[in-house]
């Protein structure tokens, strides 16, 4: 059996709102799987149902072949969860917090080993409230590791961190992935998903709208480059769609993103067109297509807002 998580027809309703709508997917053992989507798309609800924190209205969830809805206590023993915000007492030392959480599980890793993994050995006796944001995030990660879990859930693990702290956390996650842990990561940082995840599932309005490896997702959408610019003057909606080689146009006010596989050809046409029609183009940039563009191409909306 190579499946770590098996989800079938998962549904969650809040009144009339269907937060998660008949979602099915599987996650392999040892995989780093990313769940992407804008806020309110249903990704946190989905993950919280897998963790047993929320009860689904329909569908089945199995973690390591254990039915979460029937045997949530067994599941808790083999999963580790890092929540979005650091949720631990202020006036507790890092080492004490790890010891405390270790005591909740039947099986637990030695405290020093956990401190090693998250590089907090020198902070063992520091109070949590004196730590920096990045260090607090690593404490949260440490608490998710106390039971040496088979499956690790990381919810926005680098939210609000500076670039250096973010890279530190990424390195730790990569290290854990190297040890064969199954990791489920929810994020809305595309570069994070691209760097860490083997496969990603994109959730929007409670449904999985795409699920594949990062590279294949970009290839499937026939995206290679994205040309971004602002256009001032009167620009009709379909103005840029007529350009040859453009596979998709997204517009947000006067900000445009053209998806293309032939960037130089499109750029040439753009310059000529703007001269002929006296439209002023500004802030033109060309970059490699990313998951962000995949999302834009699939939904017509930007992921971050």
């Amino acid at each position: 059996m190579n499946t770590a998580i098996e989800i079938e027809g998962l549904t969650k309703k809040y009144g009339d709102l269907i937060a998660v709508n008949n979602v099915s997917f599987e996650i392999e053992k040892g995989e780093i799987f990313g769940l992407l989507g804008p806020n309110g798309a249903g990704k946190t609800t989905t993950v919280e149902m897998i963790e047993g924190l929320r009860k689904p209205d329909g569908g089945t969830i199995k973690v390591y072949d254990i039915d979460v809805r029937k045997d949530v206590e067994k599941v808790k023993e083999i999963i580790g969860v890092q929540l979005q915000s650091t949720t631990i007492y202020d006036k507790i030392r890092v080492g004490e917090a790890i010891d405390l959480f270790g005591g909740y599980y039947r099986k637990c890793m030695p405290t020093t080993e956990i401190l090693n993994i998250v590089s907090l050995n020198d902070k063992k006796d520091s109070f949590v409230h004196t730590l920096s944001g990045g260090q607090k995030q690593r404490v949260a990660l440490a608490l998710a590791l106390v039971n040496d879990p088979e499956v690790l859930f990381l919810d926005e693990p680098t939210m609000g961190l500076d670039p250096q702290a973010r890279r530190n956390v990424w390195e730790i996650i990569e290290g854990l992935g190297g040890k064969g842990k199954t990791i489920v990561l929810t994020t809305h940082y595309m570069e994070e998903a691209e760097r860490l995840c083997g496969r990603v599932g994109i959730i929007d309005h409670g449904k999985i709208i795409a699920l594949d490896s990062t590279r294949d997702l970009i290839a499937q959408q026939k995206l290679e480059a994205a040309i971004e610019f602002t256009a001032s003057g009167h620009v009709p909606d379909e103005f840029f769609e007529k350009l040859e080689g453009v596979s998709k146009v997204s517009r947000d006010g006067n900000d445009f993103v053209l998806q293309t596989r032939e960037s130089s050809r499109v750029l040439g046409q753009l310059t000529r067109l703007s001269e002929a029609r006296s439209i002023i183009l500004g802030n033109i940039s060309v970059r490699k297509a990313t998951l962000e563009d995949v999302f834009l191409s699939l939904t017509g909306r930007r992921l971050r807002n």
């Binding site: 963790e51 047993g52 924190l53 206590e73 808790k76 023993e77 999963i79 969860v81 929540l83 915000s85 949720t87 631990i88 007492y89 006036k91 507790i92 004490e96 405390l100 959480f101 005591g103 909740y104 599980y105 039947r106 608490l143």
Partner: protein
């Protein structure tokens, strides 16, 4: 080490590290006991040292600060910070989590009471005329009713910021109308029925009856019954309306 003793150790640590907790639990009641002790030193009320009237009221105040204010703000703050949610993801059982909260605070209640009695006995002329065990039983029953009131209040209060003033209001009403400092019969007539229905009043009466009148269970049982009644009512409310999130 069992999980429950781990929780008690944790709560004790958090309590001892919080200067506000320590102030309300120990420094403030000790200050009040010494202050009132000195004010009335050398006097005699009906052949009793005044400290025998004053100290039970201060003990009730101290117990309420721990069981109501400290419990409520602690629970609301842990819930608001998402600590309950995080713990729900571990195998920790909820009754052990709550048990740790309550047992630790009950230990604080015992320490407060012992310290206050020790000060009364060593510095002033405090004596418990009645039975110590009965005194302890009344204290425990009072603590139970205050704990369950504290947990009921957490259902009404969502944020830590609101918890302090809201619990303060209950605390002051229970303290001033319940006879901690001013005898209930000094209160205006229309307030007397309210005062006499308060759990703080029942505990004050029970403790003073034991300390001053050497009362046995045969005399104080109605106060015990009323305290138990409040404990049952408040526990019912707490169980029905308590929110984990």
């Amino acid at each position: 080490m069992s999980v429950l003793t781990g929780q008690i150790r944790l709560e004790t640590r958090l309590f001892l590290r919080d200067k506000g907790d320590l102030f309300w639990a120990l420094a403030f009641p000790v200050f009040m006991a010494v202050l009132f002790g000195l004010i009335y030193q050398g006097e005699s009320w009906d052949g009793m040292p005044p400290i025998n009237y004053v100290l039970p009221g201060i003990i009730v105040m101290a117990v309420m600060s721990t069981c109501i204010m400290n419990t409520t703000t602690g629970v609301v703050s842990d819930r608001e910070k998402g600590i309950f949610r995080r713990l729900a993801l571990t195998p920790l059982k909820r009754h052990i989590l709550i048990g740790g909260h309550v047992i630790t605070r009950y230990l604080v209640v015992l320490v407060q009471t012992i310290v206050l009695i020790a000060i009364g006995v060593t510095i002033f002329e405090f004596t418990i005329e009645g039975n110590y065990l009965l005194f302890w039983a009344a204290l425990t029953l009072g603590a139970l009713s205050f704990f369950s009131l504290g947990f009921s209040l957490t259902a009404l209060i969502r944020t830590e910021k609101a918890a302090v003033p809201a619990t303060m209001a209950f605390f002051f009403i229970l303290m001033f109308l319940g006879g901690c400092f001013f005898p209930v019969n000094m209160m205006p007539d229309f307030l007397q029925p309210v005062c006499k229905a308060l759990p703080s009043c029942h505990l004050n009466d029970a403790l003073r009856m034991i300390v001053i009148d050497k009362a046995g269970i045969g005399t104080v049982w109605p106060e015990f019954l009323k305290l138990g009644g409040w404990a049952v009512i408040f526990s019912g409310i707490a169980v029905r309306f308590f929110k984990w999130e």
